[in-house]
Structure formats: structure tokens, C-alpha cells
Symmetry: D2
């Protein structure tokens, strides 16, 4: 397993192909640092006795000790440990730990490649296993590039004016394929070792060019990452651990990129495009059953704490709102537990979370995220929105005023009052907080997608039959 | 295991101590029949090859085949099977299967009696085990009499003007105890073999008279059941299976009732009153994670079916509402699965569902029940409220009009249109439906009780600490 | 103005054409009595000094004193008084006062007939004015028969297999027209003097047969009313004023019914069918801005009172829920006030409520009705669902038990505790309560219809333009 | 009336007493510019023929033409015009127009000062009228400094450890008073001419030092404003009108500030502290019935437009969500209309909005604000959160990629797609957007305050009486 330092060293040596705010950047650019620090926690924790058991496990391929983020699930415990790991690590960085993306992609490919091979006699699974060994041994960071830019939402991939609006195979060559297109919303991509591309949806028979999956180094020729960096407002004096963590999302452009065959895991098998897309969605929504409760943990901790600081910690409406957050967190987490407890073995002998429950959990998180921010705002009062900047608490002319007038519960020092309100302001009344709101709705698939997922596989006919039975209805002859 | 007939035979021979609508009734009274039919399904299913595996299991005490409703959980599978059994059987009767009450009471007593014995050197657990063997061998129906009438809600048991407003020990005698009081909302009690009484809440040191648990035959001298019967509107011609099922709730009055020591399972151990109350609540809320999804199944089946009959089954808003009900059902059921998957072994070596998840599931069911009825009403249109009585569909003068004008989707016969709307009317626009709404809020503990339960055991300090860490707050010295 | 007695006398002499539960009934049948009593309140109040000013006004046609339910609005005060009258009278009968239907129909016809005349040179308005004078002088009760049975909801009137599924003109004769069809959900019809039929929707050019409006006596040859009666559970001893009020809904069948020309107010003018349908909807939704707050008044009164009786009247969650009901009532009522304050003069010089606000008010009432019942159930506890029947409070064998154990707040007598819980049970945990839930969703048009109404007339382009302006977007050239 | 230029000229000459981010700033500092531009619109519109009638009116004191923001309401039309003016102008700046604060303060003082004079024979009203003439003639901008910092929320003003935590009278002198304390969340204060201080709550008899109201120039000796500036992210190339508008909030510190008697409008009359506080709240919540609909207008315009751009403008779920926003906007606006239509004349002969409806409107806006952002996020998709910075759309290396891959509906140019998504990102996924969320909850009083306001004045007893009547309950004798 790599150290955080080794990971950063590797990044430094990659080909610069990242643009942020109009500039080409190498991977040691300050704008990437918050995201890199976040990922770093997954390396550090693997070596920290307190978290080692949670964050490492044994590879089923090599028997070696590996980071759990590179693992293929073979037991319910594997799944539950992953969920717990995510919640724990997200709590340490104040939000998304990001590394689940690669983990979810390899697990999705693991079963699907086997199924394709069974159906068509291909050897994708063997290729993938070989790749996985490399991935685990080198303790790599993978980005899952799934969401295409999608163009006109009312049209299918093959109907778009510009065929590149969904990533596609431009040419098949002897030694590999050429692909073009653009994947959006690619968190972690700018500081990932590898980009793992998979389809974003079901494909029709005529859409074999768009049924493609592969993995390539993130600095491969032809790949350009145009990015937006998200991090907490920087601090002047009153340092806070969470300010060093952040994320970076990429629009990942593939401009005639060559992928060698050994890195191609699907190539035209349209029937399995939807299966792979959903397998990733399933694993990723399961991940959300770990990370969203972590965000809610922070919300409820902040709400409870600010109520204490305001002197209203025991007020019934506060207690009730905090309990509301507990329920939200645990319904989402419990849905993940249920998904693990009823997980199903796939063709490759690995486990996949129960799609129904992973979707229910992600759905419930998605429809509640804005309300969680609302609760925090409601109990915090208006100060997070009007808190004067940090320097006004430092500058001699105003420092005393600020400390005098921020005082609430007299048992809490002015400094701690200040630190808490600044945290809440930076966390929930900020650009970063707003990004978390959007991510809470759309990351891993928006609620409407989970509803579609759920109802697609739900046996509604059996429910109609219950009613027909109870109501004494026999089917009409036709 | 008994047959349904044997059960009814036994009921017939019990001492009449049931009042409904001002009359003393024996247990073969027509007003009790719907409830008895419901319980009957649990006997019949145990002998039906299709359900036998689900509804029977092996006693850990005797090794004999027993009805699962008499079983003490010793594996996750025990718990999950119970949940599945409840959902299945509730679907067959169109609502509450009722028999879980006794099951939840004996499981609650099983661990708690052991804990009391460990603490005080008593022999309650041994008594209980002996009782359980009798209970299982005779395949009995037990009612859990928990909720006291409670008098002034702002006062504790010992503060009430009338000490009987919580069931209490009036006298301890050599061979047993004398109790007085009244337990409310006792579903199944009028046709149960046994009444199992347990405390409704925590008790203070001064409340040892109110810390009492026991089991007695339902027709014991001094016990009077004043009841209300709930069943679907009866039918004249268009029969429907669900109309034969119903329930009966009792205010169970204990007027100086003698309980022999071998049937006493708690007697003054105030410290364990709350533990027992919560253990029952936990098991019963876990049961709700099986039965409420069954009610939602009916809601969603009816909603989907009436939309088909109305010709709007594919309309986006219909599809979305039905999916909403799917999510509701599966979040509740999934919470039960999570409670089972993370169940904990108690002092007696049996399993108890994870309190956190059983409460989350019950809570979510409770806050959604009215909305479920709203969805069904919304898609059904106004007809369930204005549908002329059945005889208007029979009487020659109006029959043709009714059949002509009830037609919607022309592929569905007038008779089936009629049957479905009558079912929906009788199910959701009726006294019985309204009882289900109240029961959906309060049965097993209203949502506010689950929130109290959850937050009582929740480690909110650890969440505050996450925020303190992220915000860089060190504790104030005091 | 008529007395209640005169009204009943008239009913008694009408041709029996009412079926309920398979029997032909005359209009003094006991099943109609609760509905008739409700309407009676509008006659009595007109003669009661306390309400006279609210319930009577001066006809703009004759200058005579008339019941306000027969009035055509000519001032904002007319509109606001009507709203206030409805809220007041609904409070006296515990629900829908019903008589608004005819009022809303005549107001809708008043403007629309004028518009048709202007467009086509017809004389509908003159006919209507003549009819109105008769209507006012005789202080009549009118039912608005609007909602057709509608058959397959995915098809238009002219596309149905059976053309009668929307009321239609079968034949035009020299002295009048022949119509056939069936109008559903016709509250008040069985004890109305007159049935006023209007279209339920917009009609296309090819649907002139379905564009028809007229008024006829309710016992006209060919008219058959197949009804369902709704009333509170009857009482044995503990009388309560609200139990004598109820309602009756009719499926009103028109089987080749002759309507003389002077009673025909639209005959084929398809362009105005939608206008008339919406004009009635507008007036009727405005009425809902008066009656729904009355229902909420009862909900909040009952919730506040039962909390007092339970001893928890000052508990924060109770206070908050009651305040929630206050807000609901007043947003709905306030929307009505806004609709009145911004009402618009129509072609006939009368006022019509502002469609936007009447729809907002009715919408908000519709989406909250189930939640209101949920609040009442939540604070009441489970007793309304399990309260033993009245006779158990009378019968000597159980009376004392019941009185002993229903006690809560010791300052309230057992009798009053009993009366309140019986009221809540009969009001909210009953067939009648469930009918009110359905009516709350669908009566006057379900929330989805108000949304459609609102967005049809809303200037969304102007809102897009605000955004284009702010965002600096100039329109694409095409 | 002043011009925008005259206003800015005046600001420039005021004593610098503003700190932002640790620096003392004069009033032509760039950080104040966005706020000043916003206020400028109220000057420009008064001279713009299109808005002149809306934004100007005639002073009831002088008969002169004045800006409507300086007017005292004397007719329902005055109130409705103000509401319309606010909605219109907020639409022009993309949010809060700010100037209502002073308007609401003077209207609140107008009636209250009269009432104090009547009660105590003081001459506050005369002082105020004199001040108002000066205020109107000079077309001044006033800030209402109401919300105290409040310290420990569980304690009253007089119970705080530090008496300054509520603004208070330190000393009464012959020519005036000395005050100390700090008012928080003072929008507009840094570029206001005047600060008008009023109490934040009811005061007890012992709290006469805290019952104080006055108006002083914003640069008075002893006044220090510590501020936070909020504005949209600046643009590099793709300019958008809304980016030049913003706001600035101040913690306004009063450190032994002298106020001459002619500027003191309350001085120790504790009985009227609550009355004045609520009078301002009433007027300000009425203002919110104009400004929140303007924010919703932008939300719905953006949602509808982005749906068009995504090619899904006609999708049922989009149409429904947009309609949801229409209802929200119009319920809030309609509540304002109702408040105006039922406004009441105060002791000074001016009108005050109906407190019930102004609170209902503000409440409903407050509980919906986060949901409105959720709707916009939901329909926009994830792009507002991951949109690369503007320079990536300018830089040659990435410009083409960006324009190629942002394309959706092919009828909309890449430039307009870009502009819209940048607007939505800057508006809803930004620090400024988050400030609007907080302001939407807390500005003018959070929803919990409106509920308290409503229930304080609500006649709940009359509702209990309706239920007692219907239920046949006669009061217990005690």
C-alpha cells in the first residue's frame, strides 16, 4: 500500500492536462491541494492503528493486504465495513471522501464483465482481473467517468446532433480503440491515477458505438480535464481542520483517445450497457448510504452544538429537529445495512448490494438534503449569513466589539462561539455548502433516477393481485 | 399445533366477560367473528403447504414444530422470517394480522426476566420458560396489554388522583398478587387465550406497585373487556374476501384480579419496568416493519389498479405516486431488515432487533400513513366517497344506470369497475379505513414516541465532537 | 324568503325520483333528513337577528331582500360577506353548508351567458335574468350538476365508446332540447329544488352536443337520482348538535330529459363551454376559501380542546401543531380575501373572484386536508379509534369502569371527556370523516386541477424574461 | 427627490465608520458598491416614466411628490402599490431591494408614537412628524436597527451578564440620551443616511432602560459598523446585469452614542416596546409578501428556462414543479393583498396591514425557501455545481471543448446555454445564494416567530367553543 507521500509524488510526475480557470495546471497546483488532502486521509487511515482494520482488508485475488477502497465484496461484512468506513472517513474531512468512485466502478465491472463473457465468449473478465491486480498492488485512485454531457435530454445518444455528446468509439484498431466524448461531474478525476469510463445509460441495438467501458491513466494523450475546485473559505488566523479538505470536479474531455485492448472492458455489447450503468449506480448509491449519514452527522452535531451555544439546547423544538436529523441519517444508513444484508451473488461470485434498498437509501438522502440545511439554518439564526469576516475579529479596532457581542451562553468563550459560527457559516452559508446541496440532490443519481430504478424492477403486478384477491376481482376475459 | 376449529372451540367455552355496545357477549358472538377469522389465517397458513415454512419453525425449548408467532428469536433468519411472515399474512387479510402482539410480549419478557434474575436472584426467567412451553405446546394466542389509560398525561403514575389509572399491585399474597387497573387499545384481547400484561413506561423508585408483569387467561375472574369491533362494511351480493376480516379492541379492566406467582414475571423491580416496556416496544415496532409495508402494498396495488381502470395507469403523476408508495413500503421494510441484520443477543441468549432501526422504520411508517391514504384518494377521484350503496347496483330500477355510468377503461367490465371502487370505498373511505389511519399513527407507539426512543439512546455527543474537531474547537475550561 | 318549514313542505310534494340503497324514496325519507337539516340552517339564519345581516342582502334585480346564497356579486363586500357567511354557517353544522353550489352556478352563468350573447347575438342572459328573479323570489335551493362521469379518462367526450358518458344534447326540438347523461358527486341534489347543469370542461369544435347548460326542477321527468347518504353515527343518549347534520350525494341520471328553451343557457356554443366550466370552478373554489377554514376551525378547536383534556394543552408540540392549523386556515381564508379584493368585473357588470387566488386557496386546502386529520389524530391519541360504543357508557355493568378510566385532566368531568372523545371519534375516525377527507381533496376540483388552472393563465414568459434580463441573455436568432 | 448621483455624493462625504474584513472603509469603497447600486435602482425608477407612478406618490404631510419608500400608508391602494413596487424592483436587481427597511420603521413609529402620547402625554408623535418631513424632503435612506445581538437566548434583556447585549439607555441628559449596545443583521446600514433603532421585543417593567427608539445619522460619533458584503461572483467577460447588485449587512455597534431629544421616539415606555417591535415586524413581514414572490419569480423563471434549454420544458414533472413555485409565489403575494385589503387604521389615522395575513405570508415564504432552491437544483441538474470557471470558456485551449459540450437543446446557442448555467450557478450554487437561503428563513423574523405572532393574537377559545357546541359539551363547574 502506498503512503500519502508516494501518491503525491506520483501525481507530481503526471503529464499536466488539467485546466482550471483558464490555466493549464500540474497536479501539485494549490487549487488541487484540498482534494488531494481528502484522498490522503484514505492512505493515512490505512496506516493508523485506530482505523487500520476498517480501512484495509485482504485481496481475494492475491491474498495481500489492500486498501478496502480497492476491494471486491465477497461477504456481507465486506459491504457493511465499507459503509462504516465511508461514514467514518467522511466525518474526518467534513464531507465526501471521494475514493469510493473507483471502488464502485471496479465492483460494477467485476460482475458485468463476467456476464458479457458468458453471453458472448469474450474475455473481458480476465482482462479486468489482471487490471485489478495491478490496481490493488499499486494502491491506485480511480475515477468513475460515467455521466455523459448528454446534450438534448429529450433525445437518445444516437439521436443527438453531435454524436460526441455521449462518449463513443470512433474507431476500432488492431491494438485498441479510439474514443471521443466528454464525461461530466467527475469528482476526484484531477488527482486520480486512473479514469474508468462506463456507460451512463441503457443503449439500443443501433447504439453499439456508445456501449463502451475502459480504464486509462488520467494523463493519457488526448485526455483534457477542465475543472472546478471546491473548498472551504480559507482562514487567516482561526484555523480549523476542515478547511484543508475539498474537492475538484472535472469535465473530462476525450479527444480521439487511444485505449489498448487489455484496458477495454466493454466494446459494443449494447445489451449490457444498461446493466453496467445500473451496477455502478447500485454500488455508488450504496456508498451514499455511508457518506450521506456522515454529512447528516455533521448537520446534527452542528445543530445541537449551536443550540447549546445559544443557550437553547434543551428547547423542545431544537430537540425535535435534532431527532429529525437522527432519523434521516439512520434511515439512510439502515437502508445500506439492509442492502448489504440482502446482497446477491453475481455471475463472478462477488456480492452486489440489494438494488432496492441502496436506491431507497440514496433517494431518501436526496430528498432530505435541502431540508437538513434548512434545519441547521433555522436553529443557528441569521448570524452565519451576516458574520463579519475573520479579520474583523483580529483587527484591534473591532476585535473587542466582536468578542463582546458574539457572547451567548456565558459558559462558552467568545473564541469558541466565534469558531462555531464561522464553521457553520463556512459549511452551510457558502459556495462550498451550496455545492454540497447540489451534490446531495444529484450525486450518484438524483431522486427521480432512484424512483425510476426502483419502479423498473418492482413487482407491482403482485401488489395489484393482492388487491384483486381482497376485492374479489377476477380478471376480465378479453 | 391447533387447528382454526380447535381455537374457535376453545373460545366458545371461555367465561363470557366481553361487553360490546352495552351487551355481555360470549366469544362466538358475530361481532367478534371478523377478528377471529383474521387470527384463523395464522392457524390455516401453518397447515398450508404454500406457507408452512414461513409460518412454522422449531421451538428452541422443546425441539417441536411450533407456530412462528410463538417463537423466541435465535437467528437473524428468525427475525427476517417473522417480518416476511407478517407482510405476507397481512396481505391475505387486508391489514393487521394481530397475532404478533403475543409474540412480541414473550420475546420482550424472555430477555428482561433473565436480567432481573441476574440483578436480584429472582426466578422469573424459569417461570417464563415454563409458561412458554405451555404457550407453544397449546399454540396459544396472547394479547399484550401494555398501554395504561394514563389519566392526566402531565402526571406520573404515582401522581394521579386515582392510583388505578396505571395498572398496579393492590396486594401481595402468599400464592400470588392482586392487581387493579385498566389497559387500553388491546387489539386481539377479546379472542385471545391469554392476556400478557407489562408496564407502559419507566417507573421511579416510589412506583414499585406499578412495576408489574404477568400472564393470565383472558377470562380470569375480575377481568372485564369492554370492546369496540371494527370490520369492513358488510356486503349484500358482491362478495369480497377482505370483508370477512376485522379486529376488536378492548379496554381491559382488571378489578382486583388474582395472579398466581408462577404467572408473575415482574413484581416491583422498578429499575426494569422501562427496560421491559422498551423491549416490547422494540419487538412490536419491528413487527410494524412487516405489517405497515403490507398496508402500503395494498395502497399501492389499489392506486395502480384504479389508475388502470380509469385509463390513466401510465400518466407520469400516477407512476410517480405509486413509486412514492414503493419507497415508503421498502424504507420501512428495509429498516426492519437492518434491525434484524444488526440484532443483538440479550442476557438470555436470544436476539433482539436493533432498537435504532426498528424505531426508524416504525417512525417512518407513522408519519406517512395519512399521506398514503391521500395518494389513494387522489388517484381514485371522488367516487369512493359518493358511490351509491351496493343495492343500487342490484335493484332493477337503477342497476343498468349504474353499470352504464361506472364504465371507464372499456377493457374492464362494469362489474370489476364496481368491485374495485367498492373495495376502495370500503377500505379507505370508511370507518374501518379511519381506524387504520389512527392505528397507523399510534399503534406500537406514535412517531413522537419513536423519536424519544431514538434520541434517548443516540450518541449525540460523538456528533458534536465531530463538529468540534472539524471546527477546531477545544473545550472551554470551566 | 322561505322558512325552513316551507322548504320541507315543498320537498315533500316533489315527485319521488330518489334511490338510496336500492329503494325509491320520497324527499321526507329519514336518510335525507341530515342533509335537509343542514340546508335548513341557511333558512333559519336568515331570520335570526344574530346572522341576518350576514345571510341576507338586497337583490340587484328586484331590490328585494334575499338570501345571500341567491345573490349576484356586485361589490368586494358581497364577496367577502359570502366567504364569511360560509365559514360561519359551516361552523354551525360541523362541515359543508352545501348551499353555495347553486350560488356559484348562477354567478358563473351570469357573466358567461352575457358573453355568449355578445358573441353570437343569442338571448341566454335575458333568460337567465328571468330565471334568477324566479330563483330569488322563491328562495330556491339549486344544485350545480357539473362533473360528468367521464368514462375513460384518457379520452375526450367525443371519443368515448358511449356518448352519454358526458351529458349531451340528444335532440333539439321546437320548444326545447332533449338531454341524456349522468352527472356525478352532486351534493345537495336530492333535496334541491333545482338542478343547474353546466359543462365539466372545455369542448372542441366537434363537441357541440356536449356544450350544454340549463336549469330544471329536480323532479323533472326522466331525472333519476341514485344517492349515498352521509351523516354522523347516531347517538343513543349523549346527544350532540352536530349529529343531526349530514349530506347526500347523487349520481344524477338524465334519461332523455326535456328542457324548455327558457331554461336553456348554453346550447352548442363550444367556445364557451370551458369558460363556463372555469367560471363555476372559480366561484366554487372561492367558496372553498370560506368552508375549508371552517373545517380547519373545527380541527384546531378539537385539537386544542383534547390537549387541554389530556392535560397537555401547553406542551410545545401541541401549541405548534395548533398554530400550524391556524396558518392553514388563514392562508386559505386570506387567499379568498385576496380573490375578493382583486375581483374583476365581467361582461354583465358583476364581479368574479380573482381566479389566481381562489385557486391558490382551494389548492392549499386540498393538499393539507389529510394532514389536518393527522394532526388531530396525533394529539388525540388512539382513543377515538378504540372508544367503546355509547351503550358501554350507559349499561350499568360497565358504566362505572368507563367513567373511571376515561378520566384525564381531573378538572374535566368524565362526561365531558366522554363527549369530546366521542365527538372526535365520530368526526375524524368514522365513515363521515373519511368522506370529508375525500371531499377535501376532490370537492371543487382536486389540487391537480387547481395547478392546471393556475398555470394555464400564468404569465411564465414574463418570469423567464426577468431571468434572461438578469443573466444577460439575448434571444437566439432562429 | 434625490438622484442616484446625489445619494452617492452624500455617502462619499460621510464620516468613515465602516469596517469590513479588518479595514476601515469610506462609503465609496468597492465592497459597498453592489449594495449602493441596488438602492440606486429606487432612485432611478422614481425618474423612469415606466415606473414613476409605482415608485412615487404624494406625501400626506407636505403634499409633495415623494418616493413611495418614504410614505405613510393611508389607503389600501398605498399598501398594495408598495407590495407591487417591491416585487417589481426586486425583480430588477435579482433579490432584496433593501429600502423597505426604513419605510417599515417609519410606518411602525407613526402609529406607536401616537399611542404613547395618548397614554402618557408625551410628544413623540410630533417629533416624528417633524423628522418625517425632513426624511421625505431629503429622500433619505433609513436602516431599521431592530435585532439585538441577544446574548443567551434563554434569558431576558435584564438577565444577561452583560447589559449591553440588548441596546439600552446608559444615561439621560438634558439635551438627549446616551445609548450603548449592538444591533445585528442590519442590511443597508452601511450605505444608509439614517439608522432608526427600535426594540426587538416586549420589555418587562424592570426593563425601561431597554425600551428605546430613535433615529440618528449613520455616521454619528460612537457608531461603528462592522460589516459583511454579499454580492454575486464577479465576471470576466460574460457580463450579466445582476452581478452589479448586492448587499451589505452590519453589526452596528453603539458605544455611548448621544441622541438629541428631538430624535428620540421612545424612552422607557416599556409597555409599548412590544407594540413597536410588532408594528415593525408587521410592516416588514408585509414587505416580504412583496419581495419573496420576486425571488420565487426568479426561481420559477430560471427553472422553466433551464428546462427549455435542457429540452425538457414540457415534461410533466417540470411543469408540475414550476406550478408549485407559482403557487408559492402567489400564496405569499395573496396573503399580502389580504393584509392590505383588511388593513386597520391606527391611532394616528394611518393604515397598518392586517397582522394575521402579513404573518401568514411571511411564514409560508420562510418554510418554502429551501425547497425553492431544491426545485431549481433538481431541474438544473448538477452542472451549476461543476461548471468550470468563466476563463475556461475564454481560454483558447478549452473554449471549443466547453462550447461543444455545453450544448443541449440545439435551438439555443452555446453562449446562451453558458450564460444561463452561469447565472444559475452564481445565483443558487454560491455564497450569495446561501445567504439568500438564510435570509429567506430569518429575514423579517423566522417562521417560528410568525407562528408565535399568529397564535398570540388568535382567538383559539372561539374555535374550542365551536367544538364544544357541536359536541354538546357544557362547561364543567369548578
Amino acid at each position: 500500500m502506498r503512503t500519502f507521500e508516494e501518491y503525491k509524488e506520483k501525481l507530481k510526475n503526471m503529464r499536466p492536462n488539467i485546466y482550471i480557470d483558464g490555466k493549464l495546471r500540474s497536479r501539485d497546483d494549490a487549487l488541487l491541494e484540498p482534494g488531494i488532502n481528502t484522498v490522503g486521509v484514505t492512505f493515512d487511515a490505512a496506516r493508523d492503528p485506530e482505523y487500520e482494520n476498517l480501512v484495509t482488508t485482504t485481496s481475494h485475488l492475491t491474498g495481500e493486504k489492500i486498501n478496502r477502497f480497492s476491494h471486491i465484496y465477497h461477504s456481507q461484512e465486506d459491504l457493511m465495513s465499507k459503509q462504516k468506513m465511508i461514514r467514518t472517513l467522511c466525518g474526518k474531512v467534513g464531507g465526501c471522501i471521494q475514493r469510493c468512485m473507483g471502488c464502485d466502478a471496479i465492483n460494477a465491472l467485476y460482475g458485468t464483465t463476467k456476464e458479457i463473457d458468458v453471453a458472448y465468449g469474450t474475455d473481458y473478465h480476465e482482462r479486468l482481473v489482471k487490471y485489478l491486480k495491478y490496481y490493488q498492488e499499486n494502491d491506485l485512485i480511480g475515477n468513475a467517468a460515467q455521466t455523459d454531457v448528454k446534450g438534448d435530454r429529450s433525445k437518445r445518444p444516437s439521436e443527438q446532433q453531435d454524436p460526441d455528446l455521449y462518449l463513443r468509439i470512433v474507431e476500432k484498431k488492431e491494438n485498441g480503440i479510439i474514443v471521443s466524448g466528454c464525461k461530466a461531474h467527475n469528482t476526484i478525476a484531477p488527482y486520480a491515477d486512473e479514469i474508468i469510463a462506463i456507460p451512463t445509460r441503457m443503449m439500443g441495438k443501433e447504439e453499439s458505438d456508445w456501449a463502451v467501458a475502459f480504464a486509462i491513466p488520467a494523463d493519457t494523450e488526448g485526455v483534457t480535464l477542465v475543472c472546478r475546485s471546491t473548498s472551504p473559505r480559507p482562514r487567516v488566523k482561526y484555523d480549523a481542520p476542515f478547511t484543508k479538505y475539498g474537492a475538484c470536479d472535472s469535465m473530462t474531455v476525450f479527444d480521439n483517445v487511444f485505449v489498448p485492448w487489455e484496458r477495454v472492458f466493454m466494446c459494443g455489447e449494447t445489451k449490457f450497457a444498461g446493466r453496467l450503468a445500473l451496477a455502478f449506480a447500485n454500488n455508488h448509491r450504496f456508498s451514499y448510504c455511508g457518506c450521506k449519514p456522515a454529512v447528516t452527522d455533521i448537520m446534527m452535531g452542528a445543530t445541537a452544538l449551536v443550540a447549546d451555544y445559544n443557550g437553547i439546547g434543551k428547547e423542545p423544538h431544537v430537540v425535535d429537529e435534532v431527532a429529525e436529523l437522527m432519523v434521516t441519517a439512520e434511515i439512510v444508513y439502515g437502508s445500506g445495512v439492509a442492502a448489504a444484508a440482502t446482497s446477491k451473488k453475481n455471475a463472478a461470485g462477488a456480492l452486489e448490494p440489494n438494488f432496492l434498498y441502496s436506491n431507497c437509501g440514496r433517494y431518501f438522502a436526496g430528498v432530505n438534503i435541502y431540508h437538513e440545511y434548512e434545519i441547521l439554518a433555522s436553529i443557528s439564526g441569521g448570524l452565519p449569513a451576516t458574520l463579519p469576516p475573520e479579520n474583523d475579529f483580529i483587527n484591534e479596532a473591532t476585535k473587542e466589539y466582536m468578542e463582546k457581542y458574539i457572547m451567548r451562553n456565558p459558559e462558552i468563550s467568545a473564541e469558541n462561539q466565534h469558531k462555531l459560527f464561522r464553521f457553520i457559516s463556512d459549511y452551510s452559508c457558502s459556495s462550498m455548502g451550496a455545492v454540497y446541496q447540489y451534490a446531495g440532490v444529484h450525486g450518484g443519481g438524483s431522486p427521480i433516477m432512484e424512483k425510476i430504478g426502483i419502479r423498473s424492477f418492482y413487482d407491482i403486478e403482485s401488489k395489484k393481485n393482492i388487491v384483486k384477491y381482497l376485492a374479489g376481482i377476477e380478471d376480465d376475459e378479453k
